[in-house]
């Protein structure tokens, strides 16, 4: 089998001392930032982008991917032990897991989430191994119109479908698209919206935007608005080794969570929130212990935890095989590829097969490392939660300036960082989602290239998007998603 050969080749690269070390650094950092509030995988990968000039691509990308899926493990620890979720994908875990911890079952909750994450992570990497070559086979035949339509669909799902308001989501997306326009147009060489500022001619760095929105905006918000929240930490009680009864109640939710999470992550539907909520709802329906839901039911931790890990692997599939990022972290991973002049998508499997398969193989290894890091060693991470808020957020700001300055050695970027932090604060205040900004700024220029290529082929005729069956159907789905909810409301009123 060709896939197995490629995978074996990948393992031979991933198992070198150096790459094992990068994998370990990645999953360890990932767990740490997953545990810590105020800093997540998107910011961490963004902050580390400057190191891409010093590390070889396979090492750096193995580390970055490790941060991404490692954070999914770490986030659950915070959700279970504190009353605030560490990552947005672990909101559901916080509901049941926190209740379990209050009742002295923190150990079992951490156990089922770590083992469930491992289970889902490994199973979905197997799926990624076999699914992505199939996707590549199809996508390699895509032309610019198909890619453009696919990107429009992804833009819509990440901004308009998820979140509280389609209008605010789309506004966030368009702000991201506008940021992506700044700088020299790669196709014509025209400077756009740069005002002759040299730093703007080079474009705005994704580090600055991601760190400004997520880290600086979040810090300003927490200090000035959220200062009243007092967090109470649950004690680490109960054995982390689950009882036979716990195992019996966990494996079904793990399987179902995995089955829900992977396709959700892999479709350009974006985000890990929806599959975790879905998994929670399903487990609540199927359970034999409905009275425990809301009081700490183990199924309500096992299912969503498997789902969020599965969806992160699903997102990796779409990113690698189609070049389509459907979460903020995936968008920054895409930027990391671009640092090396690589473009994720079907051609990556052809041109950089070694790198892709080493990355996939490293995900098998990383999940094993994460199981060890998060089960026997969970005590270390619990200590991270004891860092006082002033120290934690001030420390994050030092790292923020490090990553932003390190990218271009320019003090201008620090001021830009602060300005984007103010934007992040405003967006938080008025409940605008921030992930669409990142996805818009990274995917925007790629979409623009596909759009202009399509129109060049058709000599300026926009009907090209409707003449190709695939792009026409993708655009039809997009239109249905945008207009559907609104039309439905009008119909019901009538």
């Amino acid at each position: 089998m060709e896939v197995l050969n490629s995978l074996a080749q990948g393992f031979s690269l991933a198992l070198t001392m150096q790459n094992l070390m990068w994998c370990f650094v990645g999953v360890t950092l990932g767990t740490a930032v997953g545990v810590l509030p105020g800093i997540g995988p998107a910011v961490t990968v963004a902050l580390l982008l400057p190191v891409t000039t010093k590390i070889d691509p396979s090492g750096a990308l193995i580390m970055f991917a490790g941060i991404y899926y490692g954070a999914m493990y770490g986030g659950s620890t915070t959700s279970i032990l504190l009353n605030t979720p560490g990552e947005s994908a672990t909101i559901v875990t916080a509901m049941e897991g926190n209740q379990m911890a209050k009742r002295g079952r923190a150990g079992a909750a951490l156990g089922t989430s770590a083992i469930g994450s491992f289970f889902a992570g490994t199973l979905t990497v197997v799926a990624l191994t076999f699914v992505s070559p199939l996707v590549v086979d199809i996508a390699i035949q895509f032309g610019p119109p198909e890619f453009f339509a696919l990107m429009v669909l992804a833009f819509t799902t990440v901004s308009a479908v998820l979140g509280g308001s389609a209008l605010r989501g789309l506004t966030a997306l368009f702000i991201g698209l506008a940021i992506g326009l700044v700088g020299i147009d790669s196709q014509s060489g025209t400077a756009r919206f740069a005002f002759d500022v040299p730093q703007l001619l080079d474009g705005i760095e994704v580090v600055t935007v991601a760190v400004g929105l997520f880290a600086v905006g979040e810090t300003l918000w927490t200090a000035s608005k959220d200062y009243k929240t007092v967090e109470t930490m649950n004690a680490m009680r109960g054995s982390i080794w689950m009882t036979a009864q716990d195992w019996k109640r966990s494996w079904g939710p793990w399987l179902r969570g995995t089955a829900i999470g992977f396709p959700f992550g892999a479709m350009p539907a974006g985000g890990a929130e929806i599959p975790t909520f879905l998994s929670y709802a399903i487990e609540k329906k199927l359970t034999k212990h409905p009275e425990e839901f809301g009081q700490g039911a183990i199924e309500g931790v096992a299912g969503p935890e498997a789902a969020n890990n599965a969806s992160s692997t699903g997102t990796m599939t779409t990113l690698l095989a189609l070049g389509l990022p459907t979460s903020a972290t995936a968008a920054i991973l895409l930027a990391a590829f671009q640092q090396y002049g690589l473009q994720p998508g079907p051609l990556l499997f052809v041109n950089s097969a070694d790198l892709v398969w080493a990355l996939i193989a490293s995900m098998y290894i990383g999940n094993i490392m994460l199981l060890v890091l998060n089960l026997p060693l969970v005590g270390i991470w619990v200590k991270l939660l004891k860092i006082p808020k002033p120290m934690l957020y001030s420390g994050i700001l030092i790292f923020a300036t490090l990553g932003v300055f390190g990218m271009r050695q320019s003090a201008f970027d620090i001021f830009l960082l602060y300005a984007i932090g103010l934007l992040g604060f405003l967006m938080r205040r008025y409940d605008f989602p921030t992930a669409p900004v990142i996805i818009g700024m990274i995917l925007g220029p790629l979409a623009e290239a596909q759009l202009r290529r399509s129109l060049s082929i058709s000599q300026g005729d926009w009907l090209i998007f409707l003449q190709k069956p695939l792009s026409a159907s993708l655009l039809a789905i997009t239109a249905a998603m945008l207009i559907g909810p609104w039309a439905w409301k009008k119909l019901r009123q009538a």
């Binding site: 957020y393 300036t401 008025y430």
Partner: protein, 164 residues
């Protein structure tokens, strides 16, 4: 529950301002787009195409936001809830000062000094007044990352007035 309800008329003024800002951003981008060179070639696709779509989009989205803010406020944004927790502006300013000073000093004074100052000011924003201790922690964090990046990875950060 909430005792501090803002009067209806001014309740959504922040939202209105924000919506107007989005409209203005769209307008400014549209003006900038009109200054870009005309597309050449047969297909008429050039550097103006995408900016036109983006500026038009922002303009329309801004108008829709404005309409929402004037007719009952943004969907699912509770202004009364925000009014109930007043913003701690001093905290906001301490952190802002830390970042702006960092931008001013990072090259001249160096990464470690600018970083330590940022750390102390930001911690003050979080109500931590143990200045000496915070400075020590700040020096430790900034110094360690400086050493690691400069000597470990070969990614030089500004030394500033420090000799190493």
């Amino acid at each position: 529950m909430t005792t501090t309800t803002t009067p209806e008329a001014t309740k959504h003024s922040g939202q209105v301002l924000l919506s107007v800002a989005v409209v203005l951003l769209g307008t400014a981008l549209a003006y900038g787009t009109s200054q870009l060179p005309e597309a050449s070639g047969y297909a008429k696709v050039g550097p103006r195409l995408m900016p036109s779509i983006v500026s038009g989009g922002l303009f329309v989205l801004g108008l829709l936001l404005l309409k929402e803010s004037l007719t009952g406020g943004f969907h699912r944004v509770d202004e009364d809830e925000h009014a109930a927790t007043p913003t701690n502006w001093p905290a906001f300013l301490w952190i802002s000062a830390g970042l702006v000073l960092n931008g001013l000093l990072i090259v001249s004074a160096g990464f470690v000094i600018a970083g330590t100052l940022l750390f102390v000011l930001a911690a003050r924003g979080f109500e931590s007044r143990a200045y000496v201790r915070n400075a020590v922690v700040g020096v430790a964090i900034a110094g360690f990352t400086y050493a690691f990046f400069t000597y470990g990875l070969g990614l030089a950060l500004p030394a500033g007035i420090l000799p190493f």
